[in-house]
Point group: C2
Chain length 233, copies 2
């Protein structure tokens, strides 16, 4: 039996969805998490995770819920990106989408992608598949925002594992900013921010001098943020 259209209003209303751009990073590449669509429209195409907003949740809550349902990811930094409302962006009709982006530790969620979300998969942002809806436009904007944001806020750490080497961190910046950076100057700048904790641990089994591991001092970052400090790179 067909479900009836039982929610009625005086004036027409657009549907409201959320979309999530989830960035991850593995040594060499910036990646984005995509879902293979199981239903029409765009069945079989890759798309950003997301879905319709419920009436008892904010768009941010909706984005987080959908993200968890479709990819198993939760408890992550998520930030509103933009609201997309082009008339033709969804063939089902008038759908407005509030997009959020998030940075996660890729390795934490690599396993899960075969579990909670059978059809979730990481793709390089440079060589990803073509996407459903206007999701390529959304992805482009997210990349642009990430590039701008990483220059003045230390959000890059969200993409790395708990402990990381200086070279890994530099590589992350190089990939996101699409430029190469002088090793010595980069270290000086980062160390001047004084947001890294040096660990008593080194790389093992590497065929060169073992690099020290560091971790990000989140507590200190939050303290300094409150005082209005700048973290420009």
């Amino acid at each position: 039996m067909e479900k009836e259209n039982k929610y009625c209003y005086k004036y027409p209303r657009p549907a409201v969805t959320t979309d999530c751009i989830i960035f991850g990073f593995d040594e060499s590449d910036l990646k984005v998490l995509l879902i293979e669509r199981g239903i029409e429209p765009f069945k079989g195409k890759w798309a950003l995770p997301g879905g319709f907003v419920h009436m008892d949740e904010t768009t941010e809550e909706g984005a987080k819920r959908e993200l968890f349902e479709e990819t198993g990811i939760k408890d992550v930094y998520i930030e509103q990106l933009f609201t997309f409302s082009d008339l033709e962006r969804d063939p089902r009709g008038r759908v407005i989408s509030v997009a959020y982006f998030s940075l996660v530790q890729l390795n934490k969620y690599e396993a899960k992608a075969g579990d909670d979300a059978k059809r979730a998969k990481w793709f390089s942002v440079k060589n990803g598949p073509s996407l459903a809806f206007d999701h390529e436009k959304i992805l482009r904007m997210a990349l642009y925002r990430l590039k701008g944001k990483i220059r003045y806020q230390p959000i890059g750490f969200e993409l790395l594992s708990e402990k990381f080497t200086f070279t890994e961190l530099q590589h992350l910046y190089e990939v996101i900013l699409e430029m190469s950076i002088d090793k010595r100057n980069f270290r000086k700048k980062i160390q001047k921010m004084d947001l890294l904790i040096e660990l008593d641990e080194k790389q093992e089994n590497v065929a060169h001098k073992a690099a020290k591991y560091y971790k990000f001092n989140k507590t200190k970052y939050e303290e300094l943020s409150l005082k209005g400090f700048n973290f420009e790179i």
Copy 2:
């Protein structure tokens, strides 16, 4: 006769509105344009201009249409600020609002406020009235964004008349950034950007050395923007 609820959907949908934060500037003050509400809810209270999005327009188009209908302002720079979706933000029910902000030349629209929009009025952002809905929250976010944005994009010119003196420009920056700025350094920095055209015109009837007028070189700005130039202050 009551209008019937004739727009029906399978699932409930939130209503979608837009709100506009319109900033203006007069010699000494940053101002925001507000509307006195003529109907419930919040009848008689001051609010940001805005209204429901139509089905045949994007949210940006809707924001511009409402802005024109309620204040007579059109053809202005407008930028998406944020989408607000708290469950309790509107007593009429579930209403999601996409907020836009805009910078206009206050003097251009001072007259109109008694015309197209009888109840539109400029208020100092510092000593404005309390606002309807969550509009104070929206205004706070817009101020924060403006403060951040003016540091790296020359949007301040949108707030000044066609021609202006250096002192007026500096004063604008001082008011928005809430700090005082060294006159000589400010001029050097602005002049280095090379975005001002010196006019053959000076102040008249002032009891001191007459200041030169300048105008903003929008064409050049757009050229340089395309090339990826930075305009940090």
